[in-house]
Symmetry: D3
Subunit: 201 residues, 6 copies
């Protein structure tokens, strides 16, 4: 047995409760590569990868969109994560609240912000511009047909560029998808996510 | 100038109202290829391609997911489109109601089904299994945290396979994303979609 | 067999699904006369007449109010139909969406307006005054106790007369009744309504 | 001047607050006759007549439907009034709660039933059959598209005839209209209605 | 048998329907003393005392808070009762609507105000300041996380002191508790409350 | 100056943002005693005591009810805290989510349960009986008039005694009060609460 095989990630069997979790070794190579990268970065394999491994075509497309949202944007990463958690709080999504809550704590270097966003985004200690951003993201979540041009203008006036406004909408909209997948399949957050970033590190 | 260049698609300037629509010639080659294919198939360029052209990374990931949903599934294409329209009706999404309404009429060879689904999925003339499918899709849309294992069991008992149940959830969830993008950016359906399939063709 | 009896309208047995549809010949004379007129005008017997034939006293009173709403008003007929479809979209009423959708297309000479109104009245291509009219009609539908004097003032400022404002409220209110009757008894739109006015004729 | 003209009803100027109340003498003769009858029966002119006098064509059609609902039905009058008040409570309609609350007290000979129905129909001291009737009426009010054949079957099993089931739906639906007219125009209950039937008389 | 024992209050067995009502004689002395006082004041024993007698520790704490709310405040007693009834109307609480409705009639010397507040606080004939007070109380009831600093500022501008604003919030919040206890245990109003204050006395 | 005065607790000035926080030394003696006890027990002064210090009569009554709920009950303390957090999650209450979330972690010796309850009580890893308990508590929160005798029977069948059922209702109801006070006055959780019990200690 080689060192490499010893280092193979093990996918958490409890990653989701309503669909099977595949064995790492049964996954297509491109999925294994992505999982290896994420595992090395995080120190554990986030359960979303184990869950989506159930359907590789969905794994690939989901990650392609996720990557576009966080990489091809002028929004700060902490802004992206803040939108995600504010939206996920409203949609009552355990996985996203906990996993992206950890990312909010880490990117914003703030151990309290995630719990504020999950509970009630209006209590978050953020700038006025970011509060406007959250307000529009939550409105798009709760009453999508109520969003009007005036909401977008508010973001432009708050200093966001036209393309950043698109990105605010795209992140909020995408996590209305992700939240529903997570709740539908009953994705469970890794234990590590609950504690990460609590020290403000 | 060749005949080919004369046939270049023109993107509808009114494809979306809150963000610019790019010129076809300014798009990356892979987007142009996809648009060419769609334009040839449909006889016109559906406005979703013009709208998403605003942000090519989002265009690519969106289409990758869309393709996975309609191609890598044992659900009938008409079932996929039925879910989309039932969900889009609840989310008050003009673009998806009209564009996917046309697809429902075409794939189901039924000129009335789309209007039934947009109005109230419970009035649709469909089998009991498909009504159960629509019920779960709409519940996931309106009250995602209310979906429980019992809802998934209902679909298994109705005859859907485990993976088809995943796909029902994935289609419903994805169009909660798509509906919100369309409403946020104010995507407008092509005129052609309103009329397509009305004769039961 | 005389020409007359050959021309007798046949009431659609599928006009409603939760109550019997009477035979034309069994109806009181005044109902038959009204049905004859409507059938001659439309070229078919709209199912609402077949459905309400179940209870002649309700047929008469319903039509009396309908006639007052469309005849004794300074609102344009297309405005009346626009209110009806915006309200019926919110109430998820198949019959009214489809039957009055056809009337919107015909009276407004616009093949797209009805689908806009059913989906989300805010996407309708109408004047600011008519958008205000639709906003108040939908508010009266969804949150009647939230309508205040300020809403009526908005309509007066948009150029509607005091009596036209009354009529906006009356049409919206009446179709909150009609929508519920249609859904309760499961009225089905005639096939003809789905297609009428699609060519902008 | 004759004794008769001295007895002419005076319409309450505060009958509605957002539209003018006409003078009795300016009303068409058929409206005056109806008002005379009602005034003699009640001992005062209920404000709904003064309010609807603003638009005689609506007055006539409204009363025609009202009369059909209470006269052409096998439902007990107290059942009709119970439905009205349960529906009006949900729609937060002051006029109907107070005016029809008085009628509930009088027809049911129960000084407490109206307040129970306005507050929460589930607290009403009524038979199981009538509780089923109220449940369906309130569901049709709050979530009309959620009413299914099973709801109607429940009423049939509770002992209501097919036509009585229609009437339950029709009364509930009609007062969704009436409640909205009353709130829109701000109809005010006559002082007399607040107190009528409080003694169980 | 002494005169005193003859005067002992009898607790209404129908005071609540989902938990037992204790016998007066079985209650701790401090509860009996409080009940004696209330009974002497009102002329009957309000059912809330009989109901809460089921759990003396809750009786004591409930009454302690109630007393603080009505005694330690610069709000008029009629303002306190108006808030209670507006909140209780929204929460569909029979007991509080009827019992505190009586108190509204008595303290405001207005036989109609309670029914206005139960039905729809916006129809109440009150000053602008009190309407603002009711608006905030109802918002805190229906959408607590939507209350912002701007709502409190509105009350300050309407003339309420900082501490009175706290009291508006505290009364509204406390009756969100009381309403839920009453509905949970199915507290029934005493017959006396329905009629009290109807004459404007 | 004695050692004792050096140990005097300092009330957090940011304990609430919409009302002043009193100085410890200005509080009545009984409040100071309670604060001393709590401070000694927790190692810091929970902000709820600082906030309620604004109005001592409310401080006393609030704590009296809180104490009755946690001391005079056969429910386990962890059950009481679970109800509180499930209810507070629905009411979007930051203070209660964070402060009682810490207590859930400590009493249940489970570092993950609080985040599950805040996000979506249905994801909590608890027994069937406790899930039934949470379901009724949340229903009483979201739709109080929808709670019926059948809900209470479900708890009895799950093994709770009659008095424990009362207590489930009382805890849920009381925190509908507490959540609204906290949101109204903008109570802020102490920093310590965010981290407490995260290690499963």
């Amino acid at each position: 047995m080689s060192d490499q095989s010893a280092a193979e990630p093990t996918l958490n069997e409890d990653a989701q409760r309503r669909f099977p979790v595949p064995a790492y070794g049964d996954l297509p190579e491109d999925l294994r590569e992505r999982i290896d990268e994420e595992t090395e970065r995080a120190g554990f394999t986030p359960n979303v990868f184990a869950a989506l491994g159930y359907k590789p075509s969905h794994f690939r497309a989901f990650m392609a969109f996720h990557d576009a949202l966080v990489e091809d944007t002028d929004l700060d990463r902490e802004e992206v994560e803040m939108i995600i958690v504010a939206v996920s709080g409203r949609n009552h999504c355990l996985y996203c609240n906990v996993a992206h809550g950890a990312l909010v704590r880490i990117y914003a270097k703030d151990p309290h912000l995630a719990d504020q966003l999950v509970s009630n985004y209006r209590t978050a200690d953020v700038s006025d511009a970011r509060m406007a951003m959250l307000e529009v993201a939550v409105k798009l979540t709760e009453e999508p047909d109520g969003v009007t041009g005036a909401d977008l203008d508010m973001l432009l006036e708050a200093g966001y560029s036209r393309e950043e406004v698109w990105d605010v909408g795209a992140v909020a909209a995408f996590f209305n998808f992700s939240n529903r997948m997570a709740t539908f399949a009953d994705w469970r957050p890794n234990e590590e996510f609950y504690a990460l970033g609590r020290g403000g590190e």
